[in-house]
Amino acid sequence: MTPILSTILLTHVVFGILAVAGMYSLWMMLLKREPNSANLKRFSLWSLVFILISWISGAYYYLTYYGAAVKPVIKGGAYPWAHLVVMEAKEHIFLFLPFLLAVVLVAVIFSGTKLGQDEKLKSALTFLVAVMTIIGIAITLSGLVISGAVR
């Protein structure tokens, strides 16, 4: 792996974790009785930026290196399911996250400071962010499973 590809892979990992940390923080904030709307906007915006960086770097790594050099090794190794099941699920589920984060950002921007009073919207957003965080953590762990199978 070239230094540039290593850097791209590291970028994918670090920004992915930062995005998951951002989603988790959003979940914690939404559980408060009166969520701070400025913080919600800031965290949803940064999480979206982080997930996009992770998305783009991951896609570049997949297209230029993983498909040709890593996939055949995993498929021919002791854990072929790491690609056939885990990676296939990961790469498709991952596609949802930027869009879901954009939905959260738009909802937070338009609800403004009224989110605390609108219990229905707050519950829906809390549920959405919780699902996104769980997906984010599952995807992060999937990345580990895939990396460990390259042998």
Partner: protein, 165 residues
């Protein structure tokens, strides 16, 4: 400074901040709840401690994944499937779920504190004693036992200081 040194320094600093903050959080919660009322200054201290704890967690998690990244590019992928690593990840997951449950008030403060405190020290313990080669479920069984023991001790401490929750 190599990438490995950077990750190891960050991981140690993150863990120190997290475990230290978890310890002080417990001490300050006991001090604050002795009279059953959390004063604004006490609340301010607790907020600062929880911020340090979160920063420690993020630094420790990112640097931890940094190690795994190094294993991957150095051809040491086998280490990623180590049971100790997955036990540590499970403990971190429980720590995260516990924080959510505490925030949502779905778990009593005593048990939430016991889980948080024990989880941080379990992570420290698993990091310190690298030679441990116990199976995954054995590590988790000891962890659950430690939570129960810490919960019992915290209950005694709360009673001793007359903590009103």
């Amino acid at each position: 400074m190599t990438l490995y040194s950077l990750f190891i320094a960050s991981h140690i600093i993150g863990t120190i901040l997290g475990a230290g903050a978890a310890t002080f959080a417990e001490i300050f919660v006991i001090k604050a709840l002795k009279d059953g009322v959390v004063e604004p200054l006490e609340s301010d201290y607790l907020k600062t401690i929880y911020t340090v704890l979160r920063v420690g967690l993020i630094v420790a998690v990112i640097s931890g994944f940094g190690f795994l990244f190094l294993y991957r590019i150095q051809g040491l992928e086998g280490l990623i499937y180590e049971t100790k690593l997955w036990a540590k990840l499970t403990v971190v997951m429980i720590l995260l779920i516990n924080a959510i449950m505490l925030q949502a008030r779905k778990i009593p403060l005593l048990w939430g504190s016991a889980i948080s405190f024990t989880s941080w020290y379990t992570a420290v313990f698993l990091g310190l004693f690298r030679g441990i080669s116990a199976p995954y479920f054995e590590i988790l069984a000891w962890y659950v036992l430690a939570i129960v023991a810490v919960g019992f001790v915290l209950d005694k401490i709360h009673n001793h200081f007359g903590v009103k929750i």
